[in-house]
C-alpha cells in the first residue's frame, strides 16, 4: 500500500516545469559564491500530481467524514471561502503596497476587526497573530506590558487551571513567567478556594478556558474573574472554545480582559493538516495601547463624496509586531466570508446546534460510557474509554477501533485530569443521522471491549496502515529521504 517518496520517484533529466529563456543578457555569476550540487528530485508534472493525489487518499478529512476531535472544532469548511481567498484582487497583492492601492484589503481587515470585537465584546483587536498559541503569546506579553507600564514589577505568576491546553503554560513560560496550577472542583469548575489562595500581589493573571476543556461552562465565572481582578491581576480568555459562545455570551461583557480567537476553529478556516491558523487577539480599553502594531484604522475621515482612507496605526505603547506583515490575510478573507454569510442569528445558531449535538451524543452514550462531571455540557464533553469489566482496554484502543467504523477518533488523553479521556466535539455541521451512526459505533465498540478485546487491541484493521512503531521512529530518527551519497558537507 505504501507510496514511494518523491525522491524514489525521481529520474535524472526530468522536469515538471520549464521557464522561458532569459530575455536580457546573462550577467556574470560570482563563481566563489556558487553552490555545486542541488539535490532536488526530478519529475514530470504527471508524476508529481499522481504522487500527491495518491498521498491524499491516505488522509482522513472533514470532507470525507465525521471528525469529532475535541478542542479542535473540526466543522465543515465552506467551499466559497476557498474561492474568495483566491480572488486575484486579494491573492496577488503585496503586503508592502501603498495603502491607496489596497483599500479593498484594508476595508476587509477593518470590518473584520469590528465584527470580532462586537462578537466577543472587546474594545480593540489585532489580526496579526498566526495561530492560537501565537495569540496566547501576544496576550501574555500584553499582560506583562500592562503591569510593567504601571511599574508593578512584582507580578511574575500566571495562574493556569489544571484542565488548560498545554499552550497556556508554554506561552507563559516563553515570557519568563512562573506557572501556578489551579485545581478543578468536583463539578469541573475552577476551585474557588484554591484560586483565592493562589492570588496575591505577584499574580500577573489567570489564563482561563471557558467553556473549559471538559466542555463545561464555569458555574462561578463571574466570581472567578472578580477574585483575579481583586488582587490586581488580569484574566486571559483562551478562545479555543468560542464556538460554544457565539451569540450566547460575549467574554468581554463578563470581565475577560484579553482573549485570542481561533479563526481556524470557530470561523471555519480550514485546518490544513496542521495549519495555517489565525489567532486574532481582542482586549479591553485599558489594554488597547499595548496591542502589537500595526492595526488597521481610518487614517483620513471620509465625507459625502469620498469614502474614508484606511491605513495602518501603531498603538502608543505597543509590545511590537509578533510576525512580519499583517497576519494571515488569506485566513481573514475566509473568516470574513463566513461571518458575512451567518449574520447575528446564524452565529447564535452555530453555538446552539454545536451544543445540541454534543449533549445529544452525551445523552445517548450515558450508561455505557462513564461521563465524569455529568452536567449539561457545551460544545464538547469528555467520556472515559475504560470499563472495569474490560480490563486492559484503554481509550487508545477505543480510538483506534473507531477508525474501522470509518470515523476519526475523538481527542484522547486530554484533558489530563480525566483518566482515559475521550474528548468528543461534534460541531454544528453534523446531522442527526451522522451522530446516530457514530453513537451506534461507539456502543458496539463498548460491547466488543468486553466480548472480543483483541479486536480493539489490534485495531485498526480496515485502514490502509496499522498501528505504528513509535519507539523505532524516535530511536532511529530518520527524518529525511535518502540524499545522494556524494552530497556531503
Amino acid at each position: 500500500m505504501t507510496e514511494p517518496t518523491i525522491y524514489e520517484l525521481s529520474s535524472p533529466g526530468r522536469t515538471g516545469v520549464i521557464f522561458p529563456d532569459p530575455d536580457v543578457p546573462r550577467a556574470k555569476l560570482p563563481e566563489n559564491l556558487l553552490r555545486k550540487e542541488l539535490p532536488l528530485p526530478e519529475l514530470a508534472e504527471v508524476d508529481v500530481v499522481r504522487h500527491y493525489v495518491n498521498l491524499s487518499k491516505y488522509n482522513y478529512s472533514v470532507d470525507g467524514g465525521f471528525y469529532p476531535l475535541g478542542s479542535c472544532t473540526m466543522k465543515y469548511n465552506p467551499k466559497i471561502n476557498e474561492d474568495t481567498a483566491r480572488l486575484p484582487g486579494f491573492a496577488f497583492t503585496h503586503p508592502l503596497q501603498p495603502i491607496e492601492t489596497v483599500q479593498g484589503n484594508l476595508v476587509l481587515m477593518y470590518t473584520l476587526q469590528e465584527w470580532l470585537k462586537e462578537i466577543s465584546g472587546f474594545a480593540a483587536l489585532t489580526l496579526q497573530p498566526a495561530a492560537g498559541a501565537h495569540g496566547e503569546l501576544t496576550g501574555v506579553l500584553i499582560m506583562r506590558a500592562y503591569h510593567k507600564d504601571r511599574r508593578d514589577s512584582k507580578r511574575v505568576k500566571m495562574l493556569i487551571p489544571d484542565s488548560a491546553h498545554g499552550t497556556n503554560p508554554a506561552s507563559s513560560a516563553m515570557s519568563s513567567m512562573e506557572v501556578v496550577q489551579v485545581p478543578s472542583d468536583a463539578r469541573g469548575n475552577v476551585d474557588l478556594a484554591a484560586l483565592k489562595a493562589a492570588c496575591d500581589d505577584t499574580t500577573v493573571g489567570l489564563m482561563l478556558t471557558n467553556p473549559n476543556t471538559l466542555g463545561l461552562f464555569d458555574e462561578h465565572l463571574e466570581q472567578v474573574i472578580q477574585i483575579v481582578h481583586d488582587c490586581g491581576g488580569l484574566v486571559y480568555g483562551d478562545g479555543a472554545n468560542l464556538n460554544a459562545l457565539l451569540g450566547i455570551l460575549r467574554p468581554g461583557d463578563v470581565g475577560i480582559d484579553v482573549m485570542h480567537y481561533n479563526l481556524h476553529k470557530t470561523f471555519s478556516t480550514p485546518h490544513g493538516g496542521g495549519g495555517p491558523g489565525s489567532g486574532p487577539v481582542g482586549v479591553t480599553e485599558q489594554l488597547a495601547d499595548f496591542l502589537p502594531g500595526p492595526l488597521v484604522g481610518i487614517v483620513e475621515e471620509g465625507d459625502d463624496d469620498d469614502p474614508p482612507l484606511y491605513g495602518f496605526i501603531t498603538p502608543k505603547k505597543t509590545i511590537g509586531r509578533v510576525k512580519a506583515f499583517h497576519g494571515h490575510f488569506g485566513m481573514l478573507v475566509r473568516a470574513y466570508t463566513y461571518i458575512a454569510m451567518h449574520g447575528p442569528d446564524g452565529l447564535r445558531q452555530i453555538a446552539e446546534y454545536a451544543v445540541l449535538n454534543a449533549n445529544y451524543i452525551k445523552a445517548r452514550l450515558k450508561g455505557v460510557y462513564t461521563v465524569p462531571f455529568d452536567r449539561i455540557c457545551m460544545h464538547e464533553f469528555v467520556a472515559e474509554g475504560q470499563w472495569t469489566d474490560a480490563p486492559g482496554i484503554r481509550a487508545l484502543d477505543v480510538a483506534k477501533r473507531l477508525m474501522d467504523y470509518d470515523y476519526h477518533p475523538p481527542t484522547n488523553y486530554f484533558p489530563l485530569i480525566v483518566h482515559e479521556a475521550l474528548m468528543i466535539e461534534p460541531t454544528e455541521t453534523e446531522n442527526k443521522r451522522t451522530l446516530d451512526d457514530f453513537v451506534e459505533a461507539l456502543l458496539k465498540i463498548a460491547a466488543e471491549a468486553k466480548t472480543n478485546p483483541d479486536l480493539l487491541h489490534d485495531a485498526p484493521h480496515k485502514t490502509p496502515f496499522g498501528r505504528m512503531d513509535e519507539v523505532k521512529a524516535a530511536r532511529e530518527l530518520v527524518l529525511c529521504c535518502w540524499l545522494p551519497e556524494d552530497y556531503k558537507q
Binding site: E45, I80, P88
Partner: protein
Amino acid sequence: MTYIPHSPIERDAMLAAIGVKSLEDLFKDIPAKHRFPKLDLPPALTEMEAAAELGELSTGNENVHSDLVSFLGAGAYNHYIPAAVDHILRRGEFYTAYTPYQPEISQGTLQAIFEYQSLICALTGMEVSNASHYDGATAVAEAANMAYAQFRGKRNKVVISPTVHPQYRETMRTYVQGMGLELAGDDPKANLDAGPEALESLIDENTALVIVQYPDFFGRVYDFTKLIELAHAKGALVCVAANPTALALFKAPAEMGADIVVGEGQPLGIPLSFGGPYLGFFTTRKQYIHKMAGRLVGETLDNRGQRAFVLTLTAREQHIKRERAISNICSNQGLMALAAAVYLSLLGQTGLRQVAELCYHKAHYAAEKISKVKGYSLCFDTPFFHEFSVCCPKPVTEINDHLLEHGVLGGYDLGQDYPSLKDHMLIAVTEMNTKDEIDALVDILAEVNHD
C-alpha cells in the same frame, strides 16, 4: 445562510433525548444578565451575495497580476506558481484534515511533511528540518529561543545583523522582551557598508546566537564562513536566515558552517496574499534536534511491516511538556509546507536553478540600466541576487507615486528603517519581470528626475 443541517423534527427529537424543552434550556449556566446578547452585525448573506461582496472588495485593490507591474520585494516575492500547486492544495483530503496525530489515517499529510523536510534539508544542506513555523520572522525568533535553551540560559546575548529584515528584527525584539535576552547589533544607524566583519567585535563568551541574513535585506550575498568560524571559536551558534530561491544558485549555508538555517518559504509556490499565510522553514544539525521547537515527522514501520511516518520526539512539545517546552508552537503552516513540497518537486533542480538564474540576470540587467540613469546610483558594490539598493535623486515616495501613475509598483523605501538610507529604494526583480517592463521602469525613473 448557515451550514447547519438539522430539520426542526430532528432538532426536537434530539432535545427530547437530552431531556430539555428548547435550545435555550441548554444555556442555563450562562450568567442571565449577559445571556444571548444582541450582536450588531449586518444581516446574513446568501452564498451568491457573499461572492459578490467579496468580489467587490477584491476589486478595491490594485493587484500585481493584472493591474500593476511589480518591482517590490523586501521579504515577499512575486514568483510564478505552476498550476498544479494549487490543484493539490485544493484537495479536501489535505486542507480539511487536522494535525496528523492519528498516523493510521493521516499518512498523506505525514509523508508530505516528511518530503517537505527532506526538500528543505536538500536546499539548505542541513540535517534536520521541522514541519514549519509561521513565517520567516517567527522562525528567526524561534532560533533565539532554541539557542537560549541549548545553553540552558547561561548565555544571554543574541547578536543580530542590522541587515536582517527590519520586521524580523522587530519580531525578535517582541519575543525577547519576555525572555530576558540581550540583543546586540540591532542598530539601523550602523555602517551598512561594513559586511559581516562588523559583527565580529560583538560576539563574546556570553553570546548564544549570531543571526545574519542571506542574501541580506539589501539583496547582498556574503560568504559567512569566516564569521561562523569566529562565532564557533567563542562557543556561539550561528543562524542564517536564507532566501530559498537564492539557495538554488548560491552556496548552501551548511557549507559555511551554519548551525541553524531558517527563512521565509513564501517564494516556494505561495501567493503574495497581502502578507500571509506564508511559511517559516527551520533547519538545524542533528545534534541540536532536542532543542528544536515544532513538529517533526520521522520514518517507521506499522504493525503490518509497511514503511510509514509518524510525528516523533513529541515529548519536546507543549502538549506534553507544558511550561517546560522549548516553545508554545502548536499550529504550524502545514498546508503551506505542502505547497513548498509540490513546488520544489515540480521544479526540481533544473527548474529552481532556472528561476534563480532568471532572477539574477534580470536584476543585474535592471541594476546596470538604472545605474546609468542620471541621478541614480547603486549603493553597494557587493554581489547581489535579485534585489538591490538604489540611491535616488528624489524622495522614494515621490518616485513611487509617479511610477504608480504608470502602473508600476516601485521598490521599498529604505529610509523608513535606515536613517542613512534616506532616498534609497530597494528594487526586486524576479522571473515575472520582462525586459520590456524593466526598460519601462528605467524610462520612468529617468523621467522623474527630469520633472
